[in-house]
């Protein structure tokens, strides 16, 4: 099993979710995050105080997948999340030792 973590643009969520569903990924956990990277931020001005805001709103998707699904999932995300402009985000893959479905106690791939 692998844990895929993808940082994407917020408005791409629905497309990515659908793409993942199509390849058979059954569950996703989404977090609102702020991202700092190459993409340029903007300037905000509140009366005399000027702030350069480098942190941009992004979404972080986490999904645990069986090894067999990994490649398809990665491709699905990449295709759906892409706009070809700086700031499209990253995908990280990590090993996942164990997964448990709380409701049933099912383990590992059965739990996903």
């Amino acid at each position: 099993m692998k844990l895929i973590t993808a940082i994407i643009r917020p408005f791409k969520l629905d497309e990515v979710r659908e793409a993942l569903s199509e390849v058979g990924v059954s569950g996703i956990t989404v977090t609102e995050v702020k991202g700092f990277g190459r993409q340029k931020g903007h300037t905000e001005l509140y009366r005399g105080a000027e702030y350069v805001v480098d942190f941009l709103p992004k979404l972080k998707l986490e999904c645990a997948v069986p090894d067999a699904l990994l490649e398809a999932a990665l491709e699905a995300i990449q295709l759906a999340a892409r706009t070809d402009k700086v700031g499209d985000g990253k995908i990280f893959v990590q090993a996942l030792d164990q997964a448990i479905r709380i409701r049933t106690g099912e383990l590992d791939e059965d739990a996903l």
């Binding site: 629905d14 903007h42 300037t43 905000e44 805001v53």
Partner: protein
């Protein structure tokens, strides 16, 4: 701000100096018309011969009835004026602001504030003069540019002969009407339009649509619709249909929001929307009961009608939702509030309380269709349903005014009131307003598009207008 039907219609207004103004012909008449400019606005579209003359202290006009200014009227009208401001900022601003996404809320608030402020200034520059300082059937004159001749001593007439208001009161009261009308429109193209486009459009539309319609409907005795006998007590045509049509045109021309129909575009703060709707309700008493211009039982009738129609509309909208969707929403209740307020606006001075309830309930039901079925039919992204609520609600209200003013239905029309005839007159007013506002809006948007462009770039729309157009973010933890 309209129709003087407290007195039996058709009766000769023997004592009223209005007779002089209304009947004198030829040269004299024109001279007088200037003198009664202020009075004009005080009347809606009642029969010309019922008009009461404005008596400015400085007026050189002939033997005049002694004018009384009652401090109770002044107190009520000042209160009413600030209530209309309350309707706009924060009322309308919040009602709209809560409905957009959080990345655009400040842009909407700013548009409402800036449009209102600009129009209020244009009002004293030339608006008041063009709307109410004499003129013919379609527009006024430049006689009161920059409030020339308006002073602490000049008076504006009310519906009652011999009772006047300080003209400053009238100028201020009417300025807020013009201001809120412009601000209403911005809901239609929220979340994507350029800020400069909003300002330029508003200035053009105010000048070429609002002022003529206001003159036609409210300028006595020569305003074109006034003369036809259309009833519009507090501004159903001038304000709501007028703005609703401009909104519809704007929504078409500016185009749909990016992601419209595909992504979820939800209100970011329905609580704000509810505060806004509530303040609209509270403030609308200034709008409606204030349009009586005096603190009398006529104002009380308009007040009670405004209360009841709104309550009925809120419940009606909720009931429809409960029946059709199984769940009555708060947003629906708040939308019903606004629909009811819009619909009772032209009617509030001439229908009875039960008629008001009927009008509210009908408008509540029909406006649900306005924001669902009709909207789908129109295939337009009128972001905040300005046409579906203000346009449609205004039309429903204008027509039903012709129905429930009938004495047989508890209204305060004359004994020989004919529903058929009055509905016809009302329909004429509606039609003229739709066409006029539609044409002016089309032209104005064309000019705006050519001069500054209409929409922000797609990327800016994605990021939100708050940051890209105004350089700030509304919320921060």
């Amino acid at each position: 701000m309209n129709v003087c039907i407290d007195e039996p219609r058709g009766q000769a207004p023997t004592a009223a100096p209005a007779t002089v103004a209304g009947r004198a012909g030829g040269a004299t008449r024109h001279a007088l018309r200037v003198a009664v400019a202020v009075a004009a606005l005080a009347f809606g579209a009642a029969h010309a011969q019922e008009a009461v003359a404005v008596l400015e202290t400085a007026a050189e006009a002939a033997p005049a009835v002694e004018q009384v200014v009652d401090k109770g009227d002044v107190a009520w009208m000042l209160t009413s004026t600030l209530l209309v401001l309350l309707m706009t900022v924060p009322g309308l601003a919040l009602f709209y602001g809560g409905l957009v996404r959080s990345k655009n809320v400040l842009s909407v608030l700013m548009q409402v504030l800036a449009v209102f402020s600009m129009i209020v200034l244009l009002w004293v520059a030339y608006g008041y003069s063009l709307a109410f300082a004499g003129g013919g059937a379609f527009i006024g004159t430049f006689d009161k540019l920059f409030l020339a001749g308006v002073s602490k001593d000049s008076l504006a007439a009310t519906f009652t002969a011999g009772v006047s208001l300080p003209e400053y009161v009238f100028v201020a009261f009417q300025s807020t009407f013009a201001g809120i009308t412009g601000a209403l429109i911005v809901g239609a193209f929220a979340e994507r339009i350029k800020f400069r486009a909003v300002l330029l459009f508003s200035a053009l539309w105010f000048t070429f649509a609002y002022l003529p319609i206001a003159h036609m409907v409210w300028y006595a005795p020569d305003g074109w619709l006034f003369a036809k006998g259309a009833i519009d007590f507090a501004g159903g045509t001038v304000v709501h249909i007028n703005a609703g049509v401009a909104a519809l045109v704007g929504a078409y021309l500016v185009g749909k929001r990016v992601g419209y129909g595909r992504e979820a575009i939800k209100p970011h703060n329905v609580t704000f929307t509810m505060i806004g709707a509530s303040l609209l309700w509270v403030g609308w008493f200034g709008f409606n009961a204030g349009s009586n211009l005096e603190a009398t039982s006529g104002a009380a009738l308009a007040f009670l009608n405004t209360l009841l129609a709104t309550a009925a509309a809120a419940l009606a909208w909720s009931l429809v939702e409960a029946v059709i969707k199984g769940k009555p929403s708060m947003l629906g209740g708040a939308s019903g509030v606004v629909a009811g307020l819009v619909a009772i606006t032209p009617a509030c001075g001439t229908v009875g309380p039960l008629g008001a309830i009927a009008i509210g309930a009908i408008a509540g039901v029909l406006c649900v269709w306005g924001v669902t079925g009709l909207k789908r039919l129109l295939r337009v992204d009128d972001s905040l349903d300005v046409f579906g609520v203000h346009g449609l609600g205004g039309i429903v209200g204008a027509l039903l005014t012709g129905v429930f003013t009938a004495p047989a239905l508890g209204g305060f029309g004359a004994e020989d009131f004919s529903i058929a005839k009055q509905v016809g007159v009302q329909a004429l007013g509606v039609g003229v307003t739709i066409v006029w506002s539609g044409v002016v809006s089309l032209l104005a948007f064309a000019i705006v598009k050519a001069v500054v462009g209409l929409r922000v770039p797609e990327e800016a729309e994605r990021e939100g207008l708050d940051i890209t157009s105004h350089g700030e973010a509304a919320y921060e933890n």
